[in-house]
């Protein structure tokens, strides 16, 4: 199936800085795609290129294989939900939502019907005549969403729409958003710096840093098989060990040899990434275990469901999560066991 939205080698510069650097992406119809990255990584710029607010310096944007790179924003059908919502303060909820339809010269009767339908969809029935400043943050967010959805956009663009909500509300709205997107089959591009949000919402995620898309994949792929150090570190926590291949499936590190699930060229350098929750912590040396590292507990933080321990290995400190009810004390001598299939080889950078 052809991609609904396709970016080909898109580059955008602001003066000397390259905000977006040769990005190519394909987004399938009906899917929820997230651009994930730290602030300043170019994800919002990329979204605005799709919306038509920025003209890319190089590269093309295609919608259903139609080139839209130079199309002005109001002819694109890429409705956007802004981070600060950008609700028109001089219009009621109803007028805000109807705006896009009026601009498309939809007949008044149809406008009324469609506005009513979308307001019901987002749960704002009864708020039609209120002004934005009379609504709570969560309600404002829904108006912004309704305003974008009502025009039945080709692609829905969301620019950190949940960042102005408090933590509890954010989770609830997130779930509603996901449910709504599935129900409508709405192709969606979502921008966030929050990895948990990205994992919970997306069909596919593109992790960005310094203007480049580093990895594209399903949430599982991104989390369980990060391609490089940045992705492993930005999505979740990771411990790293540097070493080199001594035989297929064995990496020699400063702390000892480790068996890993993958193989690679002998003599080559290798970087291993291990998630804190995948390391097993033992008080004494366990029988028959492979990949054992000796260390000393430096600090323990109780986080409820887990206890997060910092363990000092030879010169490096690792983060290891154990279950909340297990008691680990600082200064204890411990063994860390790394299951071979959990020691992932990732790229530098």
């Amino acid at each position: 199936m052809a991609a609904h939205l396709r970016l080909a080698e898109v580059t955008k510069r602001f003066g000397p800085t390259v905000a977006v650097d040769r990005v190519s992406l394909e987004i399938e119809e009906g899917s929820f795609f997230t651009l994930l990255g730290p602030s300043g990584c170019g994800k919002t710029t990329l979204l605005r290129v799709v919306a038509g607010f920025h003209l890319p310096d190089r590269g093309e944007v295609y919608l259903r294989e139609r080139r839209i790179t130079h199309l002005p924003p109001h002819l694109r059908g890429t409705a956007m939900v802004f981070q600060e919502y950008a609700l028109f303060p001089h219009m009621t909820v109803e007028e805000n939502v109807a705006y896009g339809l009026r601009m498309r010269r939809v007949p008044a009767a149809e406008v009324r019907a469609r506005v009513a339908r979308v307001l019901e969809l987002v749960g704002l029935v009864g708020q039609e005549r209120k002004y934005p400043h009379q609504l709570s943050g969560g309600q404002q967010q829904r108006v912004a969403l309704a305003r974008a959805l009502v025009v039945e956009p080709e692609v829905l663009l969301l620019d950190e729409p949940l960042s102005n909500l408090d933590a509890k509300l954010r989770v609830r709205v997130r779930e509603e958003l996901r449910e709504l997107q599935r129900r409508l089959g709405q192709t969606t591009v979502y921008v966030t710096h929050d990895q948990e949000e990205a994992l919970a919402l997306s069909d596919r995620i593109g992790v960005m840093n310094e203007g480049r898309v580093l990895q594209v994949g399903t949430p599982e792929e991104i989390y369980l098989r990060p391609k490089n150090r940045f992705v492993a570190e930005f999505v979740g926590l990771a411990n790293f060990l540097e070493g080199y291949w001594v035989s297929p499936g064995v990496v020699r590190t400063a702390t000892g040899d480790l068996r890993v699930g993958q193989g690679a060229a002998l003599g080559g350098r290798a970087l291993l990434a291990v998630r804190p929750e995948e390391v097993r912590l033992h008080r004494g040396a366990p029988e028959g275990a492979v990949n054992l590292l000796r260390g000393r507990v430096r600090s323990v933080t109780f986080l409820g469901s887990v206890r997060r321990c910092t363990v000092e290995l030879d010169g490096v400190s690792w983060v290891v999560d154990v279950r909340g009810e297990e008691s680990v004390r600082p200064a204890e001598e411990v063994y860390l066991e790394v299951p071979p299939d959990r020691a992932r080889v990732v790229e530098e950078g």
């Binding site: 924003p73 600060e84 028109f88 303060p89 001089h90 601009m103 620019d159 960042s163």
Partner: protein
């Protein structure tokens, strides 16, 4: 018992606590006393000077009803055009893709530094019967005196006010709203119509009210160019000058005060509350979307034409100052400058009076802003009196001070002090509002911290606020100074033979047809004004270190 209860409601517990501080009590009495004496008293004097039968006779006076109708007509016409031009300038200066926007803004500010009659005077030189442009370049015989000339002159003189108000509002329209409109399908033109201008509507209404007050109260241009066309603002002076008719003069200014006050109240309490507060969350800053080419072209054209008209105001006066006999002998001369130098004493008087007025405005403004920011008794009354002069036409204040201070115990008329005080308190709202704006930036916790460390009452003012208020002082002083040094509407009533100010002298020279001398003295006045302002800024710049990020 009853008194005690009333007293309790009148003075809050917090107010009592504050009044227990002797320094603060002194400041309070000083501020309240000054407002009562120099704002409230002259106002009341004007209103009660004519008897009831005088008021009732107004509708029977043909000339006054004519003046009232004319004032209304010129206000509607001049306000409309001034706001439209001001809107064009405001729009031009807030679009990033508009060529020459910094230039337009600079040019539009020029009329604010000119004496109120200068536009009229210059246009008589350029476009009148002996006009350099109309008669000698185009060969036309145009009569600029009368309503049509007044309309043109007031448009040029007052569009800057509209521009400042509207630009402030347009500037605050969040670019992401315009981007959102684009995103939802609005083309460039409809973005402006449905979002940008729609959001600016309360600001435009506010600008119209501010301009309307100024036009209604405009004395300087009207007295020079309206000719025999009666207007309320000039009628008061004709009553005083020609007939020494104080009763008639106070009646006219009282009549004029009704619409200006109504407009003022409307602006402050109705439009002021309808401003849209844009909901802003965090978010990276966006650029404004491009402007519609046609709209850009039209705006640009309006700005070019009006900028030329503004620059001509200055050029016309400058040309007049160096031309032997305007209209007949176009040779170059320095003779007018000798004539003007003979009147240099009036410049000196203007400077002294304006500096005094600026000083009083700035100090009183800061003191009052400090007082009304506290839970003191009568604070709302003080606030009202501090902004009230903004609703009063200059001629009203002039007549008011004549009536209030022409007899013992405060016989000030005839001294320069009466002019200083009248100008200072007429411009008090400017100093007061500048100080209020500065005070609002100061976090209350700074003051609490100072109090916590042992500073009390006036010490808080001195130690915490004064450094921060130097800005408010400079601003209040500058605005009041410029307006005082260029003022005519009050000066004509209060100058005395020993204290003739430059604007009054110029007005007389224009009236007597000494155009060259008037032009030269006007040019000198402008130079002195700009020099003083520059000096004040430079001095202040040395005292006030710019706040980081500010």
């Amino acid at each position: 018992m009853v008194t005690a209860r009333i007293g309790h409601a009148w003075v809050t517990r917090e107010g009592r606590r504050l009044l227990a501080d002797p320094g603060l009590t002194l400041a309070f009495l000083l501020g309240a006393g000054a407002l009562a004496l120099f704002v409230l008293y002259p106002t009341v004097r004007v209103l009660v000077y004519p008897g009831l039968e005088d008021y009732l006779a107004i509708p029977r006076s043909v000339r006054w009803m004519q003046a009232a109708r004319n004032s209304l007509l010129s206000t509607v016409l001049s306000t409309t055009t001034a706001v439209l031009v001001g809107l064009a300038f405001a729009f031009a200066t807030t679009r990033p893709d508009m060529p020459g926007r910094a230039f337009f803004r600079g040019v539009a500010l020029l009329p604010l530094f000119a004496p109120p009659f200068m536009v009229a005077f210059s246009y008589i030189l350029l476009f009148g019967r002996q006009g350099l442009i109309t008669r000698h370049l185009l060969g036309l015989d145009v009569n600029i005196f009368g309503p049509q000339g007044l309309w043109m002159v007031q448009t040029v003189a007052f569009f800057p006010l509209a521009m400042l108000v509207i630009a402030g509002v347009l500037e605050s329209v969040n670019p992401s709203l315009e981007q959102a409109a684009r995103n939802l399908g609005a083309d460039e033109w409809r973005v402006v119509r449905t979002v940008t201008l729609a959001l600016a509507r309360p600001g435009i209404a506010g600008a119209a009210l501010v301009v309307a007050i100024s036009v209604l109260a405009d004395f300087g241009n009207a007295v020079v160019i309206a000719g025999g066309w009666p207007l309320l603002a000039t009628e008061a002076w004709f009553r005083m000058e020609g007939m020494a008719d104080l009763r008639g003069a106070s009646l006219v200014v009282a009549l004029l005060m009704v619409p200006t006050t109504a407009l003022f109240v409307l602006e402050r309490y109705w439009v002021g509350r309808r401003r849209y507060t844009t909901i802003t969350g965090r978010g990276s800053r966006l650029q404004r979307p491009p402007t519609h080419p046609l709209l850009k072209g039209v705006t640009f054209a309006v700005c070019v034409v009006m900028s030329a008209l503004v620059l001509l105001v200055y050029l016309g006066v400058l040309a007049g100052a160096f031309t032997a006999v305007w209209g007949r002998d176009w040779s170059f001369t320095l003779e007018h400058w000798h004539l003007a130098s003979d009147r240099a004493a009036t410049l000196w008087a203007s400077l002294r009076v304006a500096a005094g007025a600026g000083l009083v405005t700035a100090v009183a403004g800061i003191l009052l802003a400090f007082l009304t920011g506290r839970a003191l008794p009568l604070r709302r009354v003080l606030d009202f009196l501090a902004v009230l002069p903004g609703a009063l036409p200059g001629v009203f204040v002039g007549v008011g001070y004549v009536l209030a201070f022409n007899r013992p115990p405060l016989e000030l008329v005839g001294t320069p002090w009466v002019l200083v005080l009248a100008l200072a308190f007429w411009h008090l709202p400017l100093g007061y509002q500048a100080a209020v704006a500065q005070l609002q930036q100061v976090d209350r916790s700074i003051e609490e911290a100072a109090a916590n460390l042992g500073a009390r009452g006036l010490h808080v003012l001195r130690d915490v606020y004064l450094p921060l208020l130097t800005r408010a002082f400079v601003e209040g002083f500058s605005v009041s100074f410029v307006r005082a040094v260029t003022n005519v509407s009050i000066a004509v009533f209060l100058v005395s033979p020993g204290n003739v100010v430059a604007t009054f002298a110029i007005l007389n020279m224009i009236g007597n047809g000494i155009w060259g001398g008037a032009a030269a003295l006007t040019t000198m006045l402008l130079l002195v004004t700009f020099a003083t302002l520059g000096l004040a800024r430079a001095l202040a710049g040395r005292v006030v270190r710019p706040l980081p990020g500010g």
